[in-house]
Each structure stands twice: as C-alpha cells, then as structure tokens.
C-alpha cells in the first residue's frame, strides 16, 4: 500500500482522497527542501539529507510503531519514555559489566513487554489507551531516574563501533548504522501493513471496530499486538538513541511522543484510525527533520520557532484532512 501511493496512475485515480495527504506531505517536503537549496548553498549537499536521516533514525523507528497504534484508532503516549528507559537500562547494564549481546536482548524485551501489558489493560479492562499509556509513560520515566539520576556514559566496544561506523560512498557522504536499521524497520512495517493478515486487521479495526468484530476479526489480539509492536519499535528506537548519544540519560526524549504523533499526523495518518501509510510517516519525520535543519542553517531563528512551525504544520494538515473529509468523524 505504501508503494501504491507512488507506483501508478491507476490506484491513484481510483482512490484519490486516500493519497491526498501523503502527496501533500511529499509536496511540502520538496518545497521545503527547495527553499533550503535556494537559500543556502551548502544545503544541496547530499550529506545534509543523510544527516536528517542520521539525526532522526530513532524518531523514524518510534513513529513507525506509533503508526500501527494510531491506525487502530488508539494512541501510545509511552514511547518517548520507553525509548529513554531502554537507553538507560542498556547503559546501566553495560556499566555493570554485562556483555553487549545479552544487554541488547534484555533492552529489546522491555519495550514489547510493557507494550503487551498496556495492550492487555486497554483490551481486557476497557480503560482508554490515553490513560493506560500515560501511566506507562510515568512508569518508564520514573524507572529512568530510579536507575540513576545522572547520565550514564557508554564505553562498550560494540556500542561505540555501532555509533561511529560510517557506511559511505566514495565521495565521502555517509550514513550511520542507525539509518539502515531504521530503513529495515520501515520496510518490514510497510510489508506487514500492506500484505499480511495483521495489517488488514489493523486497518479494519481502525475503520470500524464493531464491523471488524462482527466480521470475526480478532479485535483483542490485534489491539494487544499493535501496542506490543509500538513498544518494540520504541525499544529499537531507544537502542538507536543510545548509539546516537552513547549514553543513557534520565531526561532524554522528554516530549518525544508529541514529535512522533506530529510526524504521524503530518504524514497523513488519520487519528481516528483506518487510513494512513508507513510511507507517509517517513515523510512526516523527514518534514520535522528538514524544519530543524532549515532553522539550524538560518542561525538567526531560535529553536522555539521549530515548535511554532510544527504547530502550524499540524494545523494545516489536519485542516487538509478535514477538508477532503477522509473518515473524519
């Protein structure tokens, strides 16, 4: 489905409305990049684009998980804290002398476990996702400081290699390992959503839970699955974050869940669920990244303009979704 939005006229002609938000995001991204290139000579450097990916690889992975949750009509506020907790636990375990492999396994298990528990609470006890994941967010963030009040540096060989390894072309442009991991996650997620039973169930439940249930689709299993997936993505994001910063800090990624939600919405996924693509989410993350790059290049603008611009874009895209009326109640 993600490729469908790009590949050909037929599917686009059949379902124009579904693709309008993604195409609008793509257009916006190109316009923003065009502005950057026309204003600053260094902006046309390929490495600028690569840097956007390098700086936002972890955000991309987390946003992919959030896309699953939002497609079912839920929301996961815990992702930023879970990512921080994953980085924190990794740093702490490495510091206490555990080898890299078991640390990686343990760190990658925490997120999905928490996600699974939250999914169960949401499904079996009928508590709103908003509240359950809010508690999850508090829990994970509390665990961060419970482990340590200060930032823990990572000196482990595997981690530093992963952090510094450059995959480049002969002209000196490079990407980090995180970017490859992020791309792998994006591809797997796009495949799952477009071609598997789970993906179909996710769209069906987001479209109309009652109908999905009547059709015999496994409502509970799917709902629990998406929160587990989101937790897994947050955990992978946390690992990438620890590659990026080479430390675990208790206050890292505060408010990241909002950036992630903003990226998903700007990427054209409708928050009532049922409509959206992983490809759109990639574009949404890129839009956020390019805004930040533009503001850094400008130098005169302060960082708070990022927030104001993101707010403005959110408004514009929500208005667009509203105007073309895709499944908005």
């Amino acid at each position: 489905m993600t490729t469908g939005s790009l590949s050909g006229v037929p599917s686009w002609a059949r379902l124009p409305r579904r693709h309008v938000p993604v195409l609008a995001t793509l257009a916006l991204l190109l316009v923003m990049y065009g502005i950057g290139v026309s204003q600053y000579r260094a902006f046309s450097n390929v490495q600028v684009v690569f840097n956007v990916f390098i700086d936002n690889g972890f955000l991309l992975v987390i946003a992919v998980g959030m896309t699953f949750v939002i497609l079912t009509g839920g929301i996961d506020l815990s992702v930023g804290s879970v990512a921080a907790m994953t980085a924190m636990v990794s740093a702490w375990l490495l510091q206490s002398g555990l080898p890299a492999l078991p640390v990686l396994v343990i760190a990658l298990l925490i997120g999905p476990t928490l996600g699974f528990l939250m999914g169960c609470a949401i499904h079996f006890f009928d508590i709103q996702p908003f509240i359950v994941t809010l508690a999850g967010m508090f829990f994970a963030r509390g665990m961060c400081t419970f482990i340590s009040n200060a930032s823990i540096p990572i000196t482990d060989g595997f981690w530093t290699t992963m952090s510094q390894y450059r995959i480049g072309d002969p002209r000196g442009n490079f990407v980090s390992v995180s970017v490859l991991v992020a791309f792998a996650v994006v591809l797997v997620a796009a495949y799952v959503l477009a071609y598997t039973r789970l993906g179909r169930n996710v769209y069906a439940i987001g479209g109309n839970p009652q109908s999905a249930l009547l059709m015999g689709l496994p409502l509970g299993r799917t709902r629990i699955a998406v929160y587990t997936i989101s937790g897994l993505c947050a955990a992978i994001g946390g690992i990438l974050l620890s590659f990026y910063t080479l430390s675990g800090a208790p206050l890292i990624g505060v408010g990241m869940e909002l950036d992630v939600i903003a990226a998903v919405v700007i990427g054209g996924t409708v928050l009532t669920g049922g409509s959206g693509y992983v490809f759109g989410t990639v574009l949404g993350v890129l839009v956020l990244g390019v805004i930040q790059t533009l503001i850094t290049f400008d130098g005169g603008l302060n960082s708070w303009w990022t927030k104001i611009v993101i707010g403005g874009l959110l408004f514009a895209f929500i208005l667009l979704q509203r105007l073309i009326g895709i499944r908005y109640k």
Binding site: I127, Q128, I131, L134, A135, R141, G142, L271, G311, Y328
Partner: protein, 356 residues
C-alpha cells in the same frame, strides 16, 4: 441486612475509593513522619504540610476544573500547560517592564491582558473543535506544541524574574490566616459548581457529551456549549499560570506548567469522570487533584527525586483506573461470589475511543 446494604451503597459511592486512597496516603505519611498532620500558627498565618498541600494543589485544581468541563463534553484539552506558560509569561513580561512593579493597578492590567490572550487561545481551540470539527485531542495538540514555542517567544527564551509584591501574593499571599491561592481555587470551584449545578448548564454540558447530535436536535446549541468549555478551560489555565509563576516570581516559558495537562486529566479521571464524556463530578476532580498533590508532596518528603515520583503516580493511576473500570469490577465480583445476588450493572459501552 440493612447494614450490609448501607455498606455496599457506601462502597459503591463514586467518591468512596478516591477518599479511601487519600486517607490511606495521609495515614501512611503520618506513620512515616508523625509530625505530618500538625499545623502551627506562625506570624498570624497557618503553616504545616496539609496547608502546603492545599496551597500547592490550587493551580492543579483550577486547571482540572476546566478540564472536567471539557472532558464531560467528550473532549480533552492538551493545551492547558502551554496556556499556563503563555499567560504567566505575558503577565511577568508586562510587570518586568513597568517602572513600579508594586503598582497594584499595573499588576491588574497585566493579569487582565494575559487572561485576555488566554481566552483568545481558548476560543481558537473552541473554534477548531466546535465549528471546524477537528478531534479535540488533535485540535489542542496543535496549541500544546506551538504554545510552548509561543511562550518562549514571549520571554525571548529567558527566564523573566520579577519583584512584584501584589503579583507574588497570588501564589504566596495570605488571607484569613490561610494562603490566598486556596481561596482562589475554592472560589473558582464554587463558581463553576454554582453555574453548572444551580442552573441547567451542567446538564446541558452532560447532554452534549452524551450525544452531541441528539442534544442539538433537542434544541441545545451544542457547538456553542463545546466552544464555551474550551474558553473556560483556557481561563482556568491562565489563572493557574499566574499562581505557578507567582510562586517562583519568575516566568520560564519552557518549564512553567509542564505536564500539568496530564496531571489534570488524571485528577479528572481519578475523580470518576469518564473520558468518554457525558458525566462530570467536580467534587471528584478536586479530590483527584488533592490525591495527586499529596502523592507528590509525600514522595518529596521521603527524599525521593521528583522524577521517581512518576513511578508512584503510575501505580496510583493504574490502581484507581482498574478499581473504577466496570470490566475489572465485574471480573472481580464474579470471582468473589459464584452467583451475584444483584447483577452488576453491565459494563458501560465506551464510545469507541473518540477521545483516545
């Protein structure tokens, strides 16, 4: 039999569990620190931990009051924290530029101006939700993200420090031996309660939350009601913002009111108001706010870092939500008694996560 019945009625009362949690917390605190509940008179003012809890919970009570009304219409207002920051920043900026910071008239002008801006922001939220018809969580997310930026824009990224006695009084002043903040919060609570419970307005709000379309067909101007609750919520947030900045005599666009929206939502939920809308309990909300503040204060008192307090908050949130969740209660009841004498009320069908 009658006693048993009365006990069950008490147990089923919607305020029973919040009160029980609060009492347990206070008892645990007293056990840990015997002087916890003592109040002393100093300089004609009352001092003591319970007074502190009341004073510090005042901003949260204000925000949560507005949030209760918003949630009862089936909405949610994520922007209150940003509105706190913006209103505090504007008031402090105006005061910091004044020649005489202790001029009462000038302070009142600053407050009126900041309140005016907050009401405009509330109206913006209201228009997005009621007229354009955007999902509340998203409509207010816009201002939550952009509002922080705006607050930092107002303060130019600095922390504005002021030295104004009338302004400080909002947070730290005393009236009738008690902190002024308590009276402001109490006044706001009584005002909201009087307007919603002594007139039909409360029921109108609940009917809009229950089914907006149906109440519109019944002759209620639904859009106008929805619009109004967001304006009221922003107004409450603005006053809370004054208190927060007055407490520290400075405005920090980045930190003022951070996460207060989440605390406010928790207070509302703990108080028994469903996030699906259609019912609201102001007394429950106030209790919820007190529980959250008591928890925070007691965690601080045990020398645990503020961030770790979140861990305890998470546990309390889940506990209270589980206790109140009809599905959880039904499961629990079925397990305890093979054949229930009185059928537990069927789990309320939640509206399909419109709010979520």
């Amino acid at each position: 039999m009658s006693d048993n019945h009365r006990f069950r009625a008490l147990l089923g009362h919607r305020l029973f569990w919040p009160v029980a949690v609060l009492v347990v917390m206070l008892a645990a605190n007293t056990a840990y620190r015997p002087g916890f509940l003592s109040i002393e008179v100093n300089n004609g003012h009352l001092y003591g931990t319970p007074i502190d809890i009341l004073r510090l919970s005042a901003p949260l009570i204000l925000v949560a009051l507005g949030m209760t009304l918003v949630i009862s219409t089936g909405g949610i207002d994520l922007s209150v924290g940003s509105i706190c920051a913006i209103s505090g920043a504007i008031a402090c900026l105006y005061i910091s530029k004044a020649p005489d910071q202790n001029d009462l008239g000038m302070v009142l002008t600053a407050l009126a101006m900041a309140l005016g801006v907050a009401l405009v922001l509330g109206a913006w939220n209201g228009v997005l939700v009621s007229i354009i018809g955007i999902q509340p969580i998203i409509a207010t997310l816009i201002l939550m993200v952009a509002g922080r930026g705006l607050a930092q824009l107002v303060t130019a990224g600095q922390i504005i420090t002021i030295n104004s006695d009338p302004y400080r009084a909002i947070g730290l002043g005393h009236f009738l031996t008690l902190p002024l903040a308590i009276f402001i919060a109490l006044g706001a609570a009584l005002l909201v309660a009087a307007v919603t419970r002594r007139t039909a307005l409360g029921m109108i709000i609940e009917s809009v939350g229950g089914n907006r379309e149906a109440s519109r067909l019944a002759g209620i101007r639904s859009s106008r009601v929805v619009f109004l609750v967001y304006v009221v919520s922003a107004g409450c947030a603005a006053i809370a913002g004054f208190m927060m900045t007055a407490n520290v005599s400075s405005a920090d666009g980045n930190a003022a009111g951070l996460w207060v929206e989440l605390d406010a939502i928790l207070a509302v939920v703990i108080g028994g108001t469903s996030l699906a809308g259609g019912r609201f309990y102001l007394s429950g909300t106030i209790l919820g706010a007190l529980i959250i503040q008591t928890l925070t204060t007691s965690v601080y008192a045990m020398n645990i870092s503020p961030q770790t307090a979140l861990l305890f908050k998470a546990v309390v949130v889940i506990a209270v939500c589980l206790i109140q969740a009809p599905a959880f209660r039904a499961k629990f009841r079925r397990r305890r008694r093979g054949t229930p004498t009185r059928q537990p009320s069927p789990p309320q069908r939640q509206k399909e996560e419109v709010t979520a």
